[in-house]
């Protein structure tokens, strides 16, 4: 229903809204490009001095002014992917349970709990990890792996301190779990009943319906949730600082200590500013993090569009 105000004719109002909205959009784009520019400008001296090898040199030695980012890139990717591996299956399970199997009265309660979990500040997760996950790894998990799997390099326990890649990944996994779970649930709840009815009427079990109809339909949304989880994991700072052990080495085992881009920035950027090249190298780390996040977003979006393109764009559901 359009309400027309005689003095402001619609055309004029439309133009005004468009102008205001365009300004906001331009503002957002400007903020984005200005921050990228600032990061790029400050990292320029390091980019020039260290060139491409910055990406694969392992040494990070500020006094000698030798800088390579490999340890941090490796640590970041290691923690991020492990966290995703831990949390994605669990989160999908939780989302499917909540939407498809959970009794109605429990569903809203559990949904609220999960949404609350998503809002807990990361430092709280970090502290929780130090108090529970680290001792558990140190006293139970690492001795176990030490006793039975010490022959496998990837599972070798080097220091048995509890801190390290695994501890950080587990806690980050818990942090992104509620995000992915609640987006999975929401995506499933948006699947049209008509689509599910089609399968049910064929004599499909609820599991058949979930596998063949609900999940394919919800895929794009779930995928978006995973990308969001990735974004949070890759940039997660404070919980990782508390748990990863903060040593600039390339982690070789699940139980290694390590360092991530965001945690090294959080720990050292305040001293780094005293030396221009040190500061510049650290800003270049930030640039790499930015590029990783952007790449994941763009690649994710493209995969998503190609998936939805053929799948849903022509679907036409009405009431019935």
């Amino acid at each position: 229903m359009k309400i027309s105000i005689p003095i402001l004719n619609l055309k004029y109002k439309d133009d005004l809204y468009r102008l205001i909205l365009s300004l906001f959009v331009l503002g957002i784009i400007a903020i984005f490009f200005v921050s990228v520019l600032v990061i790029a400008a400050y990292s320029y001296p390091a980019v020039i001095r260290y060139g491409a090898p910055f990406l694969w040199v392992k040494t990070w030695n500020p006094p000698m002014e030798i800088f390579g980012a490999l340890t941090f890139i490796a640590g970041t990717l290691f923690v991020t992917f492990l966290a995703l591996i831990f949390s994605v299956p669990l989160a999908l399970g939780i989302g499917v349970f909540l939407q498809e199997y959970c009794p109605f009265f429990l569903r809203s309660f559990l949904t609220v709990i999960i949404e609350m979990l998503a809002g807990i500040p990361s430092v709280v997760f970090g502290v929780w990890g130090v108090l529970t996950i680290v001792p558990w790894l140190r006293e139970s998990v690492e001795p176990f792996f030490n006793a039975y799997f010490s022959g496998i390099p990837f599972l070798k326990v080097e220091e048995n301190i509890g801190y390290g890649i695994l501890a950080a990944s587990i806690v980050v996994a818990f942090m992104i779990l509620p995000i992915i779970a609640s987006i999975t649930k929401d995506s499933l709840s948006a699947v049209p009943d008509l689509a599910k009815d089609g399968a049910l009427a064929m004599g499909a079990t609820r599991l058949d319906v979930i596998k063949n109809v609900s999940l394919p339909y919800a895929l794009s949304g779930i995928y978006g949730g995973i990308v969001l989880g990735f974004g949070r994991a890759v940039g997660e700072t404070i919980a990782v600082v508390l748990l990863i052990g903060n040593q600039a080495i390339v982690p070789k085992s699940l139980f290694s200590v390590g360092y991530t881009i965001s945690s090294v920035l959080a720990n050292t950027f305040t001293f780094a500013v005293i030396s221009p090249i040190y500061a510049s190298a650290e800003v270049e780390l930030a640039l790499i993090l930015l590029v990783i996040s952007l790449l994941v977003n763009i690649i994710g979006r493209n995969i998503l569009n190609s998936v939805i393109g053929g799948r849903l764009s022509r679907s036409q559901f009405g009431g019935g």
Binding site: F104, P192, L194, A195, D197, G198, A199, L200, A201, M202, G203, A204, T205, D208, N212, V213, P216, Y217, G310, R311, L312, S313, R314, S315, Q316, F317, G318, G319, G320
Partner: protein, 258 residues
């Protein structure tokens, strides 16, 4: 009511004192009727009178609907489908359903039709391919899709999707076919293919169709029922129903005064 013509051995579906509530709404009011084996029955009535709701009670599609409640009996092959021991999944395997709006699965054209066979545990590839082709031909869709069976079903037009859903519903060879306005989306050519299909298939199936097209209904029905506000106003053999309706409201409706 055509009560005197009702003989138990020819009854496929017998609906007794069926009431359906959705929350506080009383959507089906004490409905009594039956469907004979190998006959076509059309259900008519103005929009919102409960035709789709009624159809959905015949294969228990409202089981998961929050706030839905039902009393009375639906007896299929002598068994009350709302009885305690009934396996709903098993029940639905025997009943094909075509919905008011096309609702293909997010799968390829081929897999849409093969879906029922696959979930029934049929693994024989040749059998599946043969059956899929056959059903697509029955639904008058085969020539249009034979070169793109692997394409997503959503790449089809609305009318093609609806015919795909018809092919899908008959693929598992059910003994009852429920169709909610199956031709609403179709052009005259596809419509007449589907109407012919219905007439052919009543040899094997009991077919129950919701229709808004009185002429069409007259052409294909053996029996017809008229719903108004959740009440079954009239139910009779098609000849009587269309030519000599007993109730004034039925007459008004079939002469299009609603």
């Amino acid at each position: 009511m055509a009560e005197e013509k009702k003989k138990d051995y020819e009854i496929k579906v017998d609906v007794k004192n069926l009431n359906f509530y959705y929350g506080k709404q009383h959507l089906l009011k004490n409905v009594n009727l039956f469907f004979k084996k190998n006959s076509v029955c059309t259900l008519l009535g103005p929009s919102g009178c409960g035709k789709s709701t009624f159809l959905r009670t015949l294969n228990r599609m409202n089981d998961y609907t929050e706030g839905a409640r039902l009393t009375g009996e639906v007896i299929i092959d002598g068994q009350n489908i709302y009885g305690k021991s009934v396996d709903v999944v098993e029940l639905r395997r025997n009943i094909g359903m075509v919905f008011q709006n096309p609702n293909p699965f997010p799968k390829s054209i081929f897999e849409n039709v093969a879906f029922g066979l696959r979930i029934h545990g049929i693994k024989n590839k040749e059998f599946i391919v043969e059956r899929v082709e056959k059903c697509l031909k029955y639904a008058g869709l085969y020539d249009e899709v034979k070169d793109k069976l692997a394409k997503p079903a959503f790449s089809l037009s609305g009318g093609q999707q609806q015919r795909l859903c018809i092919a899908r519903a008959i693929a598992t060879n059910p003994s009852i076919l429920l169709m909610d306005e199956p031709t609403a989306y179709l052009d005259p050519v596809s419509t007449s293919i589907i109407l012919d299909l219905i007439t052919t298939f009543k040899k094997y199936y009991t077919i129950i169709i919701v229709s808004h097209n009185i002429q069409q209904a007259g052409r294909i029905s053996d029996y017809s029922g008229f719903f108004l506000d959740g009440e079954l106003i009239e139910f009779d053999e098609a000849g009587n129903f269309f030519l000599r309706p007993k109730d004034k409201r039925t007459e008004n409706f079939i002469t299009s005064r609603y």
